[in-house]
């Protein structure tokens, strides 16, 4: 009876069995995508991917949104959860649970991608006698997994700078990954994206929500635009090259308003999967993709007691996120510029207290309502997808790269793209159009805030413009003071969580922590 000690699971399947059937490769790939959208294997919660943290908090998009938005002028949050206020007050430490949650989510995503890429190596597939269409499909899946890994390494590069590194050649188990330098990781992400450029399905040719070549190009453009921050060397010419590839791929701005919604606003509604400008979304669904992160968080958290939840298509707000006057003041006329939508009733522009919802205007952007005014399938869990990459961002990246001196593009084209966005913003009129002389880098930073606020870009932008930590730009409660103050430059990078420093002696903490 000693043989009875070799028990096998009933519900779960062993890795060996899973990969023997070609039909399983797509559901595993779907999990890699779902790693961005969901927190576990039960919606909205249950069987979490990560432990030691509230499951809702552990969601990728929720954490990514929080870490890129909350430390900036675009967002403040009312809640007193352990360590959450540290973001806006900019006094985080290596023990911050939210920073750890982001770090762990990124590590988890990369590890899951590594496992998939390892199990889909050519020799493994041929060993399992997978051929024909199955083989072709699985190779595409593998390229998508490499994209998702590159995306997470890009986030790691941006947030943590010098993270640990492991790829498909490292087996699961107790090893200690080496620490990679920011410059080296930059090269790795670059080489990965270039390597899969041709393996991915052509732009706009894949199933909705799956990655294609345009997604890889957009990420490359982002990588190059920020290259000076990451490596010390500007790569604006390459940024222009890849922006042009994306722009030439056939995406167009959502320019059609409906009776109830502006053309711009339609990108953030329950049916935004129909938008022609979305390049790479993270999808959510009221019946099938439910969780307390992603757009559930972005929408519910932004609604407080003075605001009608019904206007957002949800059953109630969580009274959390608002914005500072710095963002509000970027819109001289919120009636004309349709992008500047704020809830002001019952709210105060000046923030006397970060932890009270009524201080600070609420942003009225993401909603669980379709273009036709119909509420999404479920009033708790929105259908609204999160636009990780969209064309408007690429237009602005193009313009910025040109202004930063990259070659291969021109200012006239840049002005055209910027004015296309402004024409849409000003209800199809040229009332908001700018002239060539108005187009400069400071304008671009402000325009990015107007166009892309609350989409998870702000911290990266402020760092690129050297305004995140310095006295060049202050906003309410920056550095923990109501009037704002400059903070140490080391805050441009987040600390590596102390838990991983303990687990992996190869790691050295980022300076200043």
């Amino acid at each position: 009876c000693v043989g009875d000690l070799d028990r096998e699971p009933f519900n779960e399947v062993t890795s060996e069995v899973v990969y023997s059937d070609p039909a399983n490769y797509k559901p595993i790939l779907a999990k890699l995508y779902a790693g961005l959208a969901l927190s576990g294997q039960t919606g909205p919660s249950g069987k979490p991917d990560l432990s030691g943290v509230d499951e809702g908090f552990s969601n990728y998009v929720r954490q990514y949104w929080s870490i890129q938005e909350l430390p900036t002028d675009e967002a403040v949050i009312a809640w007193g959860d352990d360590g959450l206020q540290d973001y806006h007050r900019m006094n985080w430490t290596s023990n911050n649970p939210f920073i750890r949650a982001m770090y762990n989510r990124i590590s988890y995503q990369i590890a899951a991608c590594n496992e998939y890429i390892r199990e889909t190596k050519d020799d493994k597939l041929s060993g399992r006698n997978i051929t024909g269409t199955n083989l072709e499909n699985i190779k595409k899946y593998r390229a998508e997994a490499r994209f998702l890994r590159a995306l997470s390494y890009f986030h790691s590069l941006d947030l943590f700078g010098n993270p640990p590194f492991a790829d498909e050649n490292d087996q699961v188990g107790s090893f200690q990954p080496r620490q990679i330098s920011r410059a080296e990781l930059f090269s790795y992400v670059e080489s990965e994206l270039k390597a899969i450029e041709t393996e991915l399905v052509g732009a706009k040719q894949n199933e909705y929500a799956r990655v294609d070549q345009a997604a890889a190009w957009t990420l490359l453009a982002k990588l190059y635009l920020n290259a000076e921050v990451y490596t010390g060397t500007a790569r604006n010419t390459e940024a222009i090259t890849y922006c042009k590839k994306v722009i030439g791929a056939g995406y167009s701005l959502q320019n059609t308003p409906t009776a109830k919604f502006s053309a711009y606003g339609r990108n953030f509604l329950a049916d935004n999967h129909t938008s022609p400008e979305v390049i790479f979304p993270v999808t959510f669904d009221g019946n099938f993709t439910k969780g307390y992160g992603g757009t559930t968080f972005i929408i519910h958290a932004s609604v407080g007691d003075s605001i009608s939840a019904a206007a957002y298509g949800i059953d109630g707000g969580w009274g959390g996120t608002r914005t500072t006057k710095a963002l509000f003041n970027l819109f001289p006329d919120t009636a004309a510029d349709r992008r500047g939508r704020f809830q002001t009733k019952g709210q105060k522009l000046e923030i006397d207290n970060l932890t009270e919802y009524k201080y600070g205007y609420a942003v009225f952007k993401f909603r669980n309502i379709g273009s036709d005014g119909k509420v999404g399938k479920n009033i708790t869990f929105p259908d609204t997808d999160f636009p990780m990459f969209r064309l408007a961002d690429v237009y602005l990246m193009y313009a910025e790269a040109v202004l930063r001196g990259g070659t291969g593009g021109d200012l006239g084209q840049a002005l055209t793209y910027v004015n296309q966005l402004r024409t849409r913003a000003f209800s199809g009129t040229n009332a908001g159009n700018i002239t060539a002389s108005q187009l400069n880098l400071n304008f671009i930073l402000d325009e990015r805030a107007r166009e892309l606020h609350w989409e998870g870009h702000r911290r990266m932008d402020l760092i690129r413009f050297k305004k995140f930590t310095t006295a060049a730009y202050l906003w309410p409660w920056k550095g923990g003071l109501k009037e704002g103050r400059s903070v140490s430059d080391n805050l441009n990078l987040f600390p590596i969580p102390s838990t991983d420093l303990v687990a992996n002696p190869n790691l050295k903490q980022n300076p200043g922590y």
Binding site: V18, S174, N504
Partner: protein, 965 residues
């Protein structure tokens, strides 16, 4: 020319005395009595002989018997009179019994006489406070609430810290039983005869694999051969009532606070009512408990049969438990007493009506200026609920606690059967050799539904709830051992070797199927099934010389299916010695001393119960299918995903090494007796959930063999019989235990790393108040050091800069106390005067701290209102004047040392008749009589040290009637 003699040794109550020594004086011929007190001595020279029957704690008896060659002379019954209060019968140890005097380990026995009286629904409550070093903390006042049992502190971090519980030789599955809060609820306390607690490794190592947290052996009552039929009827009726509610503001006080310190919008929310919500949800509850048992023998077949019915209401509205139990035991002896068979069957059927403890928190917090019913709005069944400005339901608000209870039906039914059949065969050709086979089965079938109507505010968005679950458990046991026992002159020894196989299957065909009230499917059925197996080989040898020197050595080789190939087996040895100094010549004549025994023991035990933390297959690379609600969209399809799970191929046994030294003493013929023990328990290769290096595994926390932890302590027990005469008999028992728990290693460490956060609190999401770090007790509170003003008031937001960084932030937390008491004390008394008797038991815990989560989330102005509704606050707000929440202030960690009187029972024997064998007895018992503590919250006795939504322990008055004939 030899013959044989047989008979039976009885005690004063005419019950068989097992393990008594029966000797033919002047020879080495002799025997010990069996479980029913019978004995047989063979090869006795014919003629007149003197038979000496003796047993520790009883006066020995001599009797002349004439042996006839070739015949077995039946001597009939010999009654022994108790000479001390020290009950020193044969003690049940793992796989057999041992004479107490031979025992080398730290073992405590509590028998029926000493049990806690009154309304006891869960068996473990019978011994609460009775054994030094055994801490039993109930989870609250709900009928059948689970208890946390800790023997000498917890030896693990993330693996299970519960002791192994063995009922009549069947180690029972103590994992979660869906539908019952406490797995032991399924055993009727009335069927239990004794508890034996094995505390140190020398005693527990025979159960190697699961013995690290001690072992509790439960023996149920059994019939005796030749016994006359006796019927016992036990009836109890009880009334329970809350003793205290959470202190919150009254409606007028609340109005006053909001009007003076609230905002205009808050003032607009005030109602005109005057509701004490806690009074509305609690009630006086009744319990009826009836038991009938039949004991005796039919011919030569001894049996016991019992039936029990308990109907217990909880003091929280809608809360109820009904239990029916039946048990049967048959103990026939065949083949000239060479084959003894022990058959036990126990069945129970428990119906639960659960009431959510969330209602308790809601009642404390619900705005007292609102009425229970809304008056005109019938949308939510007429109950008042908070609305948004646009007149829709405010989904964030506190729910009306009365509606919360009345609009939820949470029922479950659990049926459990535990049965075993044990064959004990003494070989005909070699009576010293005994073979024992034990086959056991433990099965559970449970299911339950939760129904919430669509109009109920608590599930309004989901259109109500109609959820269902089902669970099946099938656990099998096979034990087989051979024992050889021999006495040669002054040398007595036993050798035992055996094999044990145990298999556990848990199947949840409908694991929390969820639907709306109208049956619309929200979450489809998802089957969950899991299995684990233990295979063990064990051996024990005991040696005794002249009843003075004893030695016990055990070894157990245990295999668990939870570990990878190569690491499945662990070897757990132990050794124990005892020296009865009293028997030495230099003490033999010191008559004041009746017992003095020194015990020394050491051993290693194992831990493999990580199912709660890591499931049953933590070492296998495997994939889990996601549920439909967690799919991902590709094109217009939603794909159910497959997730790779984290795994650890290097997992192995956690090992606890225990050293124990003890002294058993007795004075004045045992009228004063007890024991002192000191111990050290070191756990290595802790099965702890820690973070693997980032990127190295498919999870962020994995169960790993890392680090060490130790418990060290002292225990002292004293049993006295201060008065004993014809009219008065008074027994007083006292015990005290001191335990220190410390984590000594958690792998690599860094100054910036503070430890692993644990102990989630309410308020904020995902906030933890405790930490596991090296050099401190497990689950130490991890808080900021509050700064106080000159009047002793805490200054809001001002904390000591503990790390001298110039600013005060979360890195300034420090470790401050823990929830585990350092000292536990128990005192029980049992006095009788003629027909009247009075018993009480008291307990005290010292050095245990509680985080007052009620105050930390309800004693700040910020807690008055969020998102358009008002919440009540506790009067503590007047002490602190806090505006915002200060969750991490050490101000909220309070000393929760307490003294509690668990029980007082007054009994009167109305009448005894038929030769004292029949009687009528009435009792009046009060439970939870009083608590003395400095803790400011509801109840200081909270096992995890975080006080929130606690179901109050009621005070219960029980009238009992006991009838025997």
């Amino acid at each position: 020319q030899t013959g044989a003699v047989s008979g039976r040794v009885l005690d004063e109550k005419s019950q068989g005395v097992p393990g008594a020594t029966v000797l033919i004086e002047g020879t080495s011929l002799g025997s010990s009595t069996n479980a029913d007190g019978t004995y047989l001595i063979q090869n006795v020279p014919a003629g007149s002989q003197t038979l000496v029957s003796s047993f520790v704690g009883y006066n020995a008896k001599r009797q002349i018997v004439t042996i006839t060659a070739g015949q077995t002379t039946s001597l009939g019954d010999i009654s022994l009179a108790e000479n001390t209060t020290l009950l020193s019968e044969a003690v049940v140890v793992g796989y057999g019994t041992q004479r107490r005097q031979d025992i080398t380990g730290s073992i405590a026995t509590v028998s029926e006489k000493q049990f806690v009286q009154g309304q006891v629904t869960n068996p473990e409550q019978l011994i609460q406070g009775k054994v030094a070093g055994v801490q039993i903390t109930s989870g609250g006042g709900a009928p059948g609430a689970s208890s946390q049992i800790r023997i000498r502190g917890g030896s693990s971090l993330n693996a299970n810290n519960d002791p192994l519980i063995v009922i009549d030789g069947v180690p029972v599955d103590n994992s979660e039983n869906k539908g019952v809060s406490n797995p032991l609820t399924l055993v009727n306390p009335n069927d239990i005869e004794t508890f034996t607690v094995l505390k140190d490794a020398s005693a527990t190592a025979i159960y190697g694999s699961r013995a690290s947290n001690g072992v509790i052996l439960i023996t149920t009552k059994k019939g005796l051969s030749g016994e006359k039929l006796r019927v016992t009827v036990n009836s109890q009726a009880s009334i329970s009532e809350k003793t205290k509610t959470i202190k919150v503001l009254s409606a007028d006080e609340f109005r006053d606070l909001v009007n003076t310190r609230g905002t205009e919008s808050q003032q607009n929310l005030l109602g005109t009512g005057n509701t004490n919500w806690q009074e509305e949800i609690f009630r006086k509850a009744s319990t009826f408990d009836n038991n009938v048992s039949l004991i005796g023998s039919v011919g030569t077949l001894p049996f016991r049969a019992s039936l029990g019915n308990t109907k217990q209401q909880g003091i929280l509205m809608t809360n109820k438990l009904e239990r029916n139990t039946a048990s049967l035991s048959l103990t026939p002896s065949l083949l000239d007493n060479h084959l003894r068979i022990d058959i036990n069957a126990k069945g129970s059927w428990v119906d639960n009506n659960f009431a959510s403890a969330d209602a308790i928190g809601n009642a404390a917090r619900f705005d007292p200026t609102q009425n229970i019913f809304s008056g005109d709005d019938t949308r939510f069944g007429g109950y008042y609920e908070w609305l948004n400005g646009d007149n829709t339901l405010n989904t964030n608000a506190t729910r009306n606690p009365v509606a919360f209870l009345n609009q939820k039906r949470d029922r479950s039914t659990a049926k459990r059967g535990i049965g075993n059949i044990q064959f004990d065969y003494k070989f005909h050709f070699l009576p010293e050799l005994r073979a024992n086979l034990n086959l056991g089965y433990d099965m559970l079938r449970s299911n339950g539904t939760t129904f919430v109507p669509a109009i109920a505010a608590q599930n309004f968005s989901d259109k109500g709830a109609n959820n269902f679950f089902e669970q099946k458990k099938d656990n099998k046991l096979l034990d087989f051992y051979l024992e050889y026992a021999k006495q040669i002159a002054d040398h007595r020894f036993t050798i035992l070797g055996g094999y044990s196989y145990q298999d556990f299957i848990r199947d949840q065909p409908l694991d929390s199927y969820q639907a709306s009230a109208d049956g619309t499917n929200i979450r489809p059925a998802f089957r969950f099934k899991t299995q684990n197996t233990l295979v063990s080989f064990f051996a024990r040898t005991t040696y005794n010389f002249k009843d003075r020197y004893s030695l016990t050595a055990t070894g157990r080789n245990d295999g668990s299916s939870r570990f990878p190939t190569g690491n499945k087996f662990g070897f757990f040895p132990s050794i124990g010695t005892a020296w009865r100094l009293k028997e030495e010549s230099f003490l033999k004549d010191v008559t004041v001393l009746s017992e003095l025994k020194l015990r020394l023991g050491a051993g290693i035990t194992g831990q493999q119960d990580i199912e709660g933390a890591a499931g049953n297959y933590p070492f296998l690379a495997r994939y889990t299918l996601g549920e439909e609600s967690a799919s991902y969209q590709f094109g217009d399809q939603f794909i159910q995903t497959l997730r790779s799970e984290g795994y650890n191929t290097a997992l192995k046994w956690e090992e606890t090494t225990t050293y124990n030294a003890g002294l058993d003493y007795g004075f004045l013929d045992g009228r004063i007796s007890g024991a002192v023990d000191v111990y050290l328990r070191q756990t290595n290769d802790l099965l702890a959930k820690v973070a693997p290096a980032g990127l190295t595994n498919l999870t962020n926390e994995i169960i790993t063999n890392i680090g060490s932890l130790e418990n060290r302590g002292v225990e002292f027990s004293l049993n006295t019989n201060p008065v004993r005469n014809n009219d008065i008999n008074w027994n007083l028992n006292f015990n005290v235990a001191y335990n220190e728990n410390k984590i000594t290693d958690l792998g690599a460490t860094l100054p910036t790393f503070t430890g692993y956060a644990v102990g989630g609190i309410s308020g904020g999401v995902g906030s933890n108040i405790q930490v596991n770090s090296v050099g401190f007790p497990a689950n130490s509170f991890f808080v900021q050091k509050q700064v106080y003003d000159s009047n002793g008031r805490p200054i809001e937001g001002l904390y000591t800069d503990v790390n001298n960084s110039g600013t005060s932030n979360i890195d300034d937390r420090y470790r401050y106390k823990s929830a585990a008491p350092t000292t536990t004390l128990g005192l029980s008394s049992n006095a009788s005067y003629r027909k009247l008797d009075l018993a009480f038991s008291m307990r005290a815990n010292l050095g245990n701290y509680v985080y007052n989560n009620v105050n930390s989330q309800a004693a700040a102005l910020a807690s008055l209102s969020t998102n358009g509704f008002l919440q009540n606050v506790t009067p503590n707000i007047y002490d602190t004047n806090f505006q915002g929440f200060q969750y991490f202030s050490d101000y909220y960690v309070e000393n929760a040392s307490f003294l509690r009187m668990d029980n007082v029972t007054l009994g009167y024997n109305l009448r005894t008749f038929a030769e004292n064998k029949s009687n009528i007895r009435v009792t009046l018992a009060v439970q939870n009589v009083f608590v003395v503590t400095k803790y400011t919250g509801l109840d200081p006795e909270i096992s995890n040290g975080i006080d929130n939504n606690f179901y109050p322990r009621p005070r219960t008055v029980t009238l009992g009637l006991n009838l025997g004939f």
